[in-house]
Amino acid sequence: MVDTLNVELPGLDCGLCGYRTCTELQQRLAHSPKLLERCIHLSKDRVQTVSPPEVPPDGATKSPGRAARPAGGPAVLPVLAGGAAPTWHDSLGREFDFYLEHFPEDRGPREIILPHNPLITRELAVCRGDILIGRPLGMSCGCPITHCGVATEVDLRTGVIVWCVTGPLGPRQHGFKDLGYYIAEGYEGLVRETRCELKVGLRYFFQPRMCMLQWRHSGLVNYLNRDSAGYQVRLEGLWIG
């Protein structure tokens, strides 16, 4: 049994334990010793010397990251990489051939998408300028992230929509139409940095610059136009990885 009555509380009366004064907490410690862990001014080590860590109360939420530090990682991280040259590796260490950027005139990466229920394009009366949200699912690009965007072209016969992916501020400010799940059928954009010559008809691994997860994608280049800024490309047959 831990003698919590003799624990010296800091006397700051800061309220961070949920009690207004240290005296109030001290009085409750006699009946509930584990309340001591609520005092953030006692370092973990000091708390543990008087009261071993206890299992959280039933129903309490648990911290998820407990397995988290990558095994074998350095104790101190290396120096920040600022403005580094491309490493041609994605966030999972996989190689890719080029970065896909969005056109400067676009509000974000341009994608050709098809709702899993193409009729929803008509049912929602989607038109140019509409703010949309949805999640890519399955074939292709089964990305786990909900995307937001602004429609730039709409084909009501097929349900195909061209949109520019944006952040969530637009939907938050102006409302949105929810497509549910959709398929990413194609990307169009600029290639400014590549480590190989691009050819129509070949598949490449590439890194969409704005990909939230920085995962490489793959796709077949079926349109290519070289200009002073680099390549204008269209990619279809998309996959993540």
Binding site: S43, A68, P144, M212
Partner: protein, 391 residues
């Protein structure tokens, strides 16, 4: 019409009416330049001096140790660049943590390009810097350690006292970004002898556009802004008197109300933490259970992290303002949160947290209303799988 519930107080806080009232005269009848010798100037000078004393009092500091700035970001930049950009120090070494606010991390990248070596300390899965890691990272040429007092994403409070002690034993200056912590945690510099401390008014029911840097007497800074020599030659530019008065009043109110307010917010916060799992089995809490700011919660929903944007939008439509833990609340599609990645979360999870931050004007009733609405909104998220919370 049902009134909205604002649970995003870590982003900014509503102006306290008492602060607004204190500022009013300096937006209307008292408009003099504090550097002027005449009565109009003296009136605003006196107001700024009172505010300086009010901010200093909340920190247990002296008024001449307070430098008013335009923001917490400027205060961070002044601290880091002010110490590390002096000619004799430029090639030195600085230590910070992987979970700092961009105001510190981006500034460190800038300093790196100018020749300063920077080490990023990792954090553990609870979001805490291990003091032993700091001990190991210190070098003979280390000039500055900058570790935030409390994190803006998770709300986790760092063991600043120990980190200061370690730095000072090696003769290294210690800066803390206390933008989230100021007015919520006791930060008396006589007990926590930091050398530099950044703060901002608008996180504390004060106005936007004003912050301050505490600079311990004897610490020499190279100014960022050169000009008329205001703020003791440390920050030139005519003072934002109304804003400064607002900051001073906000600090004064916090000093009087901090403990009671903290206890109240902790009660609501912990009620939420204890009530959530029964309502939403997939929920998990991010960051240390108790070492966190009083009204600050960071949550994830297992298997639904990718839908955080949809959840935010749905809650917004239901009248609840909360925030994502990642950078994606900006105009552009965001990256995973560097804070959660540093805590070991994989990118999809680091992308999908929810930040709920309570403040002075929130009530238990609002928390209850939030819990009525949240389970339905979470149930509407399209799961990636039906996973239990990570064990």
């Amino acid at each position: 019409m049902v009134s909205r519930i604002y649970f995003d107080n870590a982003a900014t806080t509503p102006l306290d009416p008492r602060v607004r009232e204190a500022m009013q005269p300096y937006l209307h009848e008292h408009w003099g330049n504090p550097s002027s010798m005449h009565r109009e100037g003296r009136q605003t000078r006196e107001a700024a001096d009172i505010a300086r004393r009010q901010v200093a009092d909340l920190l247990g500091a002296e008024p001449d140790e307070i430098v008013f700035t335009s923001s917490g970001t400027e205060a961070d930049n002044l601290a880091l660049q002010g110490v590390l950009c002096s000619p004799e120090v430029r090639a030195g070494h600085a230590i910070t943590s992987a979970i700092e606010h961009p105001a510190v991390l981006a500034c460190c990248r800038h300093l790196e390009r100018r020749g300063t070596a920077v080490t990023l300390l990792p954090v553990d899965s609870a979001g805490l810097v291990d003091p032993a890691e700091l001990e190991r990272a210190l070098r003979p040429e280390t000039r500055l350690v900058s570790i935030m007092a409390a994190n803006n994403v998770t709300g986790v409070v760092q063991p600043i006292e120990e980190l200061i002690g370690i730095s000072h034993r090696r003769g290294v200056l210690f800066h803390t970004d206390a933008v989230q912590a100021f007015g919520k945690l006791p930060l008396d510099v006589r007990r926590l002898p930091v050398d530099l401390l950044s703060l901002s008014a608008h996180k504390l029911h004060g106005p936007k556009g004003v912050g301050a840097l505490y600079v311990r007497r004897g610490v020499s800074l190279t100014p960022l802004l050169h000009g008329g020599g205001q703020e003791g030659e440390r920050r030139s530019g005519t003072e934002n008197v109304a804003g400064i008065v607002g900051l001073g009043t906000a600090a004064e109110l916090a000093r009087a109300e901090m403990a009671a307010e903290a206890a109240r917010l902790v009660q609501i916060r912990d009620w939420l933490i204890d009530s959530l799992p029964a309502l939403i089995p997939s929920v998990y809490l991010i960051g240390d259970r108790y070492r966190r700011l009083p009204g600050h919660l960071c949550l994830g929903f297992a298997g639904r992290e990718g839908e955080a944007i949809k959840l935010l939008l749905e809650l917004d439509a239901l009248g609840i303002a909360i925030s994502s833990g990642s950078a994606c609340s900006s105009h552009h599609a965001g990256q995973p949160s560097h804070v959660l990645e540093a805590m070991g979360f994989d990118p999809p999870r680091a992308r999908g947290s929810l930040r709920i931050t309570l403040g002075r004007f929130n009530s238990q009733h609002e928390a209850e209303r939030f819990l009525e609405l949240l389970p339905g909104a979470v149930a509407g998220m399209r799961p990636m799988g039906h996973f239990a919370p990570t064990a």
